[in-house]
């Protein structure tokens, strides 16, 4: 069943056609990878779907409802949540407070005045639970701005996960991370999203990661969909190999 669908989604930056009439369908429960060279339009596509950018044309449907004009907050409320390419955190907060802030927001408590945030046992308990799922419980009291890069990336996803998404976009969750840490991070993320049955779309450049974790792969090139299929189908697609690797050999 289609959870998300885009129709003719388009975004131009001057002469550059960042996203050029893209039609995609994301089914419920899938782990989809979005691949393509730099400038292919992957992040722009996620920016359009998450309302970080406004499209020039086209429509976005979530559970068959047209959400093209919805604000980021309205989309978050129905469960469309994202992480960022550069880990986007509240750097002066502790790791626990980063996640707790997301929980406060999800529960509509972020503008409450009467109680102390640090004494909300329910919210903090849930935040600790999220940190445990992501293996960050020992870092709960660390300042987020001082975390190592890999843990920052993981915390970025944990903050998004704390919003209890239905559709989670991960923008290069392993970029800038060592090969060993990549597997740890992706194993953790994959385990959490599969356990929570969260539909996930990950932008990723590392093909080992892409083929290991994806149910389906969408390849983009110059703002358009180049190929869309199972990992095996993409692996054998000469056009994808040519445009992504610059060789006609399949991946």
């Amino acid at each position: 069943m289609a959870l998300l669908q885009t129709k003719n989604l388009t975004k131009h930056f001057g002469e550059s056609r960042a996203v050029d009439g893209v039609d995609i369908v994301i089914d419920e429960g899938e782990f989809v990878s979005l691949i393509g060279s730099n400038g292919a339009g992957k992040t722009t596509l996620v920016n359009l779907i998450s309302a970080y950018l406004e499209p020039d044309a086209g429509e976005i449907f979530f559970r068959h409802q047209n959400i093209s004009q919805w604000s980021p907050i309205a989309r978050i409320k129905v469960g469309i949540v994202r992480s960022f390419q550069l880990a986007s955190l509240f750097d002066t907060f502790t790791v626990l407070d980063n996640v707790a802030q997301a929980v406060f927001s999800r529960e509509g408590k972020s503008i409450r005045l009467g109680t102390a945030a640090d004494r909300n046992a329910g919210v903090r308990g849930e935040a600790r639970q999220v940190l445990e799922e992501f293996g960050l419980q020992t870092r709960a009291d660390s300042i987020a701005g001082k975390l190592p890069h890999g843990e920052r990336k993981l915390l970025d996803v944990a903050v998004a996960y704390a919003l209890r998404p239905k559709l989670l976009f991960l923008d290069e969750p392993t970029s800038g991370v060592s090969t060993r840490d990549k597997n740890t991070i992706m194993d953790t993320i994959a385990a959490v999203v599969r356990a929570g049955k969260i539909t996930t779309v990950a932008i990723e450049h590392d093909m080992d990661v892409v083929f290991k974790y994806s149910d389906r792969i969408i390849a983009m090139h110059q703002g358009r969909i180049l190929a869309d299929g199972s990992p095996d189908a993409i692996r054998g697609n000469e056009e994808v190999a040519l445009n992504l690797l610059g060789t006609s050999a399949t991946i």
């Binding site: 907050i73 978050i76 949540v81 960022f84 509240f90 002066t92 802030q101 109680t115 945030a117 919003l163």
Partner: protein, 338 residues
Amino acid sequence: MKGDAITSRGGAISLRLAVAAILGCALLAIPQLVSPYQTLLLTYGLVMAIAALGFNLLLGYTGLLSFGHSAFFGTGAYTAALMAKYLGIHSMETFILAGLATAFLMSALFGVVCVRHTRIFFAILVMALSQVLWTLAYKFYGITNGTDGLNVPFPTLLGGSLTFRGAGAYQRFIVAYYYYVAVLFLLSAAVMWMITQSPFGKTLQSIRDNQTRAEFIGIRVRLCRWMAFLFSGTFTGLAGVLWLPLNRHVTPDVLYWPFSGEIVFLTVLGGFQSFSGPIVGALAFSYLKTYAVAWTEYWQFLLGAVLIFLVMALPTGIVGTLELLAARLKWPSFKPRI
């Protein structure tokens, strides 16, 4: 390790309570120990501390630098002065209620326009709007007496139960008004402390740290900024009302942008990265300015030199510097962190 942390935290809390108790006793005893003039200076300091705490809800907690808070201070002061002149009202409580209402409305109006912007654009926009109020006070001579200003007699306190007339009225007023302001200062500080510790306070800090991320966890950034602006302006307006009986004269100077600069100055002086910094800054500034003015006609030069020294040598302000010293000497932390 955990036990050490708990002991350290407990020590810090005990130290804070001890410091608060000593300061509380000192606040009570001061009028009996010092001259009325020193009491007056301290009252000025406490009034400015309310303004600075309000201002810091925006600067320290929300990351918005306003160069136009004179607008709210002046709104409070002029509301009371105009009520005294045209309505013949002399009740301090009525002044406070009316001043809070007008400062609230002014902040709500300014906020709607200003919180759409951040950084320099926000700072300049608030300043520009504050200058509109200054111009009105300056030009509407028939109502405000322009630069001649408005004189205000001693107000009555506590629903008219304390009046100040006849011989010794000044001394009696200074002492009574000191306690009046001290209570309102403690109440305001307590309310603002609760705001900063609440989920809303955390939300403001999250917006300060990373606006984009705050928006993408579902926080209504503009609404929260507007609310912060509202609290900030209203408390600054309260300070304006409380300031008026001390000065007993108000001119458009309290609406002019250099006065906004003073609020920025004293907040930076104390340290905007802690809750207590603006209080310390306001008290220090009250004495610094008074003695600088008495000492030299070039007092602005002196204050400018202090500001340059502060920014270059002590960017975390007095409280931030004390905190650094305490950390080096391994004392328990007494600065409630932002």
